[in-house]
């Protein structure tokens, strides 16, 4: 695949239910949390589900969510923390089963972009962790998977070729230049899907323990322009679909930056897409 026009992009934000997005103007005044998804889908065609990391997804809730979005809308769902951060040796296989059952409505409705496996910073490339990851990927086989590493020991050709062999997406991350963190790369390991997550580059707040500081970053136009070029030239020609998500949710910076990236990719130059109008690519 070498034609970037054949690639379908899904650009959105990590989560959509943020009260502070009302203050920043993304949601109209007085928007209730229960109506935020209705507003969100007017602008974006995809979102990451964060709450599935905190809590095992439940099929009825997923079903209700599917009913709220149009047919073309896609969800990327985070794998539950009991499978990434708080793994219990003899129980995790059961957790996978429960997760699959919870995801069933999304899969059936063809609204699942992929499962995002976000691994913790301490998840180094050790023998134990490698074995666990391989077993986890086996257990989750049949689902579209994207793996996000937070430790730079995984930057290794062997890792990338194994992901390629399994047709599993490596998540390209944009995060601060801090020692130990996974660097900014442009690697496609799955011809079906590439995935980029923008966490912001707030080096000072990254390890503060507060999400409000960690993800408080407003991407500059130059930074987004570099990414737009990389996406178009390096990622899009290599995959049939792309998922791009902004996690810098603080003060509504995520939807603002996502819309700007859409503008840049649409080659609108300095003309910015006004908020609350549908944007697609």
């Amino acid at each position: 695949m070498a034609d970037s026009t054949a690639c379908r992009l899904y650009i959105g934000t990590s989560g959509y239910s943020y009260g502070e997005w009302i203050d920043s103007g993304f949601y109209p005044d007085g928007t209730h949390s229960s109506n935020m998804l209705d507003c969100y889908i007017k602008t974006f065609h995809t979102t990451e589900l964060n709450y599935t990391w905190y809590q095992m997804p439940k099929a009825p809730a997923m079903e209700r969510m599917c009913e709220k979005v149009p047919a073309h809308f896609k969800f990327a769902a985070k794998l539950t923390r009991t499978l990434t951060h708080e793994v219990k040796k003899n129980l995790w296989q059961k957790e996978v089963l429960a997760f699959r059952q919870g995801m069933e409505p999304l899969i059936r409705a063809k609204k699942l972009l992929c499962i995002l496996i976000q691994l913790p910073p301490y998840f180094e490339r050790s023998v134990d962790f490698r074995n666990y990851l391989a077993a986890l990927l086996d257990e989750l086989s049949g689902l579209h998977l994207a793996v996000e590493f937070r430790h730079d020991s995984w930057v290794n050709d062997k890792v990338f070729s194994e992901l390629q062999r399994r047709k599993i997406t490596l998540v390209n991350v944009d995060e601060p230049d801090l020692p130990g963190l996974f660097p900014r790369l442009c690697v496609v390991t799955n011809p079906d899907l590439f995935y980029v997550r923008f966490h912001g580059r707030n080096a000072k707040g990254w390890r503060s323990g507060s999400m409000q500081k960690q993800f408080d970053y407003d991407y500059r136009d130059e930074e987004l322009k570099i990414w737009a070029a990389r996406i178009e030239n390096e990622l899009m020609p290599e995959a049939a679909t792309g998922g791009i998500f902004f996690n810098n949710h603080v003060r509504g910076q995520a939807p603002k930056n996502a819309l700007r990236l859409i503008d840049l990719l649409l080659r609108k130059g300095n003309k910015k897409t006004p908020w609350n109008e549908p944007s697609s690519i």
Partner: protein, 394 residues
């Protein structure tokens, strides 16, 4: 804007606290109850004991009959109070809107206004869970919802361990398939009546209109109508650790039902509370006394203080009546807790020429005692009443 309410619940709180001190108790059946006391009842039990049929408030003799091998531990109310205080200290870092039970491991937090500072409510709940686990080795169930009602039902569903997030707007759908017995506020008589109508689940009861509900339930119908729809406007009671209440505890080394000992202990607690009130230039306008008997039963009594006061003797006068009101049984008392409520600033306007009354003389005496204690330590001077029995320490 709808609210974000977190409910943290440490299941079998007393057992969890005790198991922290004696890890061998973990994962085993355990009953907390005053074994030696006549007519003792179960104060708390582990999940394993619950599975064997033991319930809170059950006569201990009956619990023993279920399984004689279950170990029984005497309750240590002070220990649970201290553990609860430590947990609350952590939660106050996130919001001042906190409501909690009496050393029972239940905490409701309204974090609607805290999101800008601390991020999504789900993340706050998760962080607190981690803090509780790391700092106190206590693992709470947690839930996030838009009301106390829904949050409480959610934690009931995942007990003894887990979490539940009820997304805003999902309340009706969440409650629909649940049995009516899980809805807080529906008492035994209401549940019995609904059962008579063959209504067992929330979704079934919802088919009744408010008018229909009014026929069997009269004035309670609107409450039932709202509850089964997840509507609960009750606020998380605002609480400020420093300004709203003050409390003092006394645990008797030997259970007692001697009036002198009880009054001495009460006076000591009043001295402790009033000293803090005077330091903060506050008055208390209400008191609550909780007596814990040796069989695990608790009696509570409350009264208003009019006028509000920070005077030891005036507060004792009112609280002594409270003691008489709460002390209704012949069973010995193990623990006393006095809570001073409705803290308020003292009346600023005073008389220009104050006539010398009994009250002003008492105020002068207390002021003098405060000065002595400040200079020579709190044991330097004591009220005669506290010397009633030697075993009453300060």
């Amino acid at each position: 804007m709808e609210r974000a309410v977190i409910h943290l619940n440490i299941a079998d709180f007393a057992v969890a606290v005790e198991a922290n001190l004696a890890p061998t108790l973990k994962g085993r059946p355990l009953i907390i109850a005053p074994e030696g006391a006549p007519r003792a009842v179960v104060y708390d039990m582990s999940d394993e004991a619950y599975k064997e049929g033991v319930r809170k408030g059950m006569p201990l003799s009956r619990a023993k009959r279920l399984n004689q091998k279950i170990p029984i531990l005497a309750p240590s109310f002070n220990r649970y109070e201290q553990a609860m205080k430590a947990l609350l200290k952590e939660t106050f870092a996130f919001t001042p809107l906190i409501e909690y039970g009496q050393a029972d491991g239940h905490i409701f937090m309204d974090v609607t206004a805290s999101k800008r500072l601390f991020g999504p409510s789900v993340d706050m709940a998760f962080r607190l869970k981690k803090i509780f686990k790391k700092a106190f080795n206590l693992d709470p169930i947690w839930s996030v919802a838009t009301s106390k009602l829904v949050a409480k039902v959610a934690t009931r569903l995942v007990k003894p361990l887990g979490e539940y997030i009820v997304a805003p707007g999902d309340e009706e759908a969440f409650l629909g398939p649940l049995p009516l017995s899980l809805i807080p506020g529906l008492e035994k008589p209401e549940l019995k009546r609904l059962k008579e109508f063959n209504l067992f689940f929330v979704s079934e009861a919802r088919t009744l209109t408010l008018e229909q509900l009014k026929i069997p339930f009269l004035q309670k119908a609107p409450l039932i109508y709202d509850r089964i729809r997840g509507i609960d406007p009750a606020p998380v009671r605002a609480f400020s650790e420093t300004a709203s209440t003050l409390s003092a505890d006394h645990e008797f080394s030997d259970d007692t039902n001697t009036a002198g000992s009880l009054r001495s202990a009460l006076y000591l607690m009043i001295e402790q509370i009033c000293r803090v009130l005077r330091t903060r230039n506050l008055h208390g306008a209400g008191t609550k006394l909780i007596l814990s008997y040796s069989d695990g039963v608790q009696n509570t009594s409350t009264s208003r203080l009019s006028p509000s006061t920070s005077n030891d003797m005036a507060m004792f006068k009112a609280s002594a009546l409270l003691l008489d009101k709460a002390w209704t049984r012949r069973v010995r008392i193990r623990h006393m807790r006095l809570i001073c409520e409705k803290l308020c600033p003292p009346m600023v306007q005073t008389e220009l020429f104050t006539p010398e009354t009994r009250e002003t003389k008492q105020a002068c005496l207390i002021e003098a005692m405060d000065k002595i204690r400040k200079r020579f330590g709190k044991h330097a001077i004591r009220a005669g009443l506290t010397l009633t029995e030697n075993r009453i320490g300060s």
